[in-house]
């Protein structure tokens, strides 16, 4: 009985430990270009990231909030970029790696396969690729925290 309890405790702790690792990605991040902030959340066991801040929030041509004007789906071209989910469907694979998701680049309207690797608690390597991981590019995102007032 003691052994069973001990094993159960180890199982529970390891599960909790893994869950904590997986949720380390949750938070607000800044892509390498610094033009946006992206908030990553966990929804139904998967991880999603949406744009929550834009350095240039308004389209200089229209003076209106920026929309997803390069989306290949015409019906989406009036959707505001702020609030847009650019990271979708990531599943934690262990060892600080999230896969099976996609990243959307609003600058060219293309969705790429994507793998996220946590370099350390404050840095993510985001690799968007086509087909296989070799054909891709890695960008480093940095964690942002709420400024103390």
């Amino acid at each position: 009985m003691k052994n069973t309890f001990f094993l159960l405790a180890i199982f529970l702790f390891s599960f909790i430990g893994n869950a904590q690792d997986a949720d380390d990605i949750v938070g607000v991040w800044e892509p390498g270009h610094g033009k946006a902030k992206v908030k990553i959340d966990k929804i139904d066991g998967k991880y999603y990231g949406k744009i929550v801040w834009l350095k240039e929030a308004k389209d200089p041509a229209t003076g209106e909030p920026k929309v997803d004007k390069n989306n290949p789906d015409e019906s989406m071209r009036n959707v505001p970029l702020r609030g847009y989910r650019i990271l979708k469907d990531f599943v934690y694979q262990g060892d600080g790696v999230w896969e099976e998701g996609t990243i959307y680049d609003p600058e060219n309207g293309t969705t790429y396969s994507c793998v996220i690797t946590m370099k350390d608690e404050n840095e993510l390597d985001i690799r968007g690729y086509v087909g296989v991981k070799t054909f891709g590019r890695t960008d480093t995102w940095r964690r942002l925290i709420l400024k103390k007032k």
Partner: protein, 381 residues
């Protein structure tokens, strides 16, 4: 009844919950994110991206077939100025024509790769092996030059028409491109290339001491997402023989992303029209060329090389087939820049430029036919 009440309660719970979550999401106060900042105050270095918006897709792997329409050619006597060392050369203005004929077909398979080895915001290294096979079908008497081709030791050799007809010309090169962003705006591109070109077979490879080296360095500024420019220098074989030329980069896309330019002069220059995200048209030219060693004429430790350089004004249509596979169709005019030959001392190349007085081994001319090229590419949109 009990069950029904339970289901209604259960369903209501989820509907209300769902609405609350969505309401929360819709009403999110984004202004709080103004106050999010990096944990430490270390300045972050930002880097220029290696492309601008709207450009044609980057080709990672491509296979194509190139074909030129029939054209007439005239080849001069084959002379060996380096071996003879006595001014035994071709009259450049009025060369003695030793061979005339028609190339009914010129072309073949091309295979290109450009694989990212390291691809990060701060540095990009792409590397690729490229292969170009050029086969010739000579229509008229390739075995009947006016005078037999004699090597300096008196041995008779095949005529150039016969060599082209039987062997064709091949080029294999290894190209490496490095993109160094210096900051958010400035960047340097460095490209190096090693070419092995000649009438060799893939099973009887040409000596590696006949490798020819090209390189280019460009300093550029990515002014915004729609425009970048650059200037630099190149050591190139694109006009056949060795040259040192200035390089100008000018990539631009209109705000509506319909029009643009993709210029890396003198290698290529296009005006681009984007029909949609999945189809575009390029109008412009390519400058193509290599120095091809002709093994039959390479004697006394020298390398006898055809300096093939051609300008290709063309239209190129590119369209997405499926996923990341795009097709390309090109049609244009193959304008002969050079098909002359040099005999190089012990495989060492020289720079003739505009003022060099090195003697030609052959002075040849080709008529200019139409050409077509169809290909499939694995691309990054």
């Amino acid at each position: 009844m009990k069950h029904n009440s339970f289901y209604i309660f259960f369903l209501s719970f989820f509907i209300i919950g769902f609405l609350c979550v969505n309401a929360q999401e819709d009403e999110e106060d984004y202004s709080i994110y103004d106050d999010f900042e990096l944990e430490n105050d270390t300045p972050i270095k930002r880097y220029a991206k290696p492309t601008i918006s709207g450009m044609s897709p980057q080709k990672f792997i491509g296979i194509s077939f190139d074909a030129q329409m029939p054209y007439r050619y005239e080849f001069s006597n084959v002379t060996f100025p380096e071996s003879a060392g006595n001014g035994f050369d071709v009259d450049e203005e009025n060369p003695n024509i030793n061979e005339q004929g028609t190339a009914k077909f010129t072309g073949g398979l091309r295979f290109n790769t450009n694989i990212p080895i390291i691809s990060k915001s701060s540095f990009v290294w792409q590397s690729g092996i490229n292969f170009m096979d050029t086969r010739y079908t000579i229509a008229e008497a390739p075995n009947a030059p006016r005078q037999p081709v004699l090597l300096p030791d008196g041995t008779q050799a095949r005529s150039l028409g016969q060599i082209l007809n039987e062997d064709g010309l091949r080029n294999i090169n290894w190209t490496n491109t490095f993109f160094f962003p210096l900051n958010e705006t400035e960047f340097i591109v460095f490209q190096s290339q090693m070419d092995l070109s000649g009438n060799y077979d893939l099973d009887t490879f040409q000596s590696l001491n006949t490798l020819r080296y090209s390189a280019a360095a460009v300093y550029g500024r990515r002014v915004n997402d729609y425009y970048r420019w650059g200037v630099g220098v190149a050591r190139t074989y694109r006009v056949g023989n060795l040259n040192y030329v200035p390089v100008i980069m000018f990539d631009w896309t209109s705000e509506n992303r319909k029009w643009g330019t993709e210029i890396l002069f003198p290698a290529r220059a296009y005006v681009r029209y984007n029909f949609s995200k999945n189809a575009l048209l390029l109008a412009g030219f390519d400058l193509e060329g290599q120095s091809y060693r002709i093994d039959d004429y390479s004697i006394n430790g020298n390398s006898y090389e055809i300096r093939r350089g051609e300008v290709r004004p063309k239209l190129e249509f590119q369209a997405k087939i499926t996923g990341y596979i795009w097709a390309s169709v090109q049609a244009g005019y193959r304008w002969d820049w050079s098909y002359d030959a040099d005999e190089l001392d012990a495989n060492q190349d020289f720079f003739r430029g505009f003022f060099g007085n090195q003697e030609f081994g052959m002075v040849n001319s080709l008529e200019n036919p139409l050409f077509f090229n169809v290909g499939l590419n694995f691309v990054s949109p």
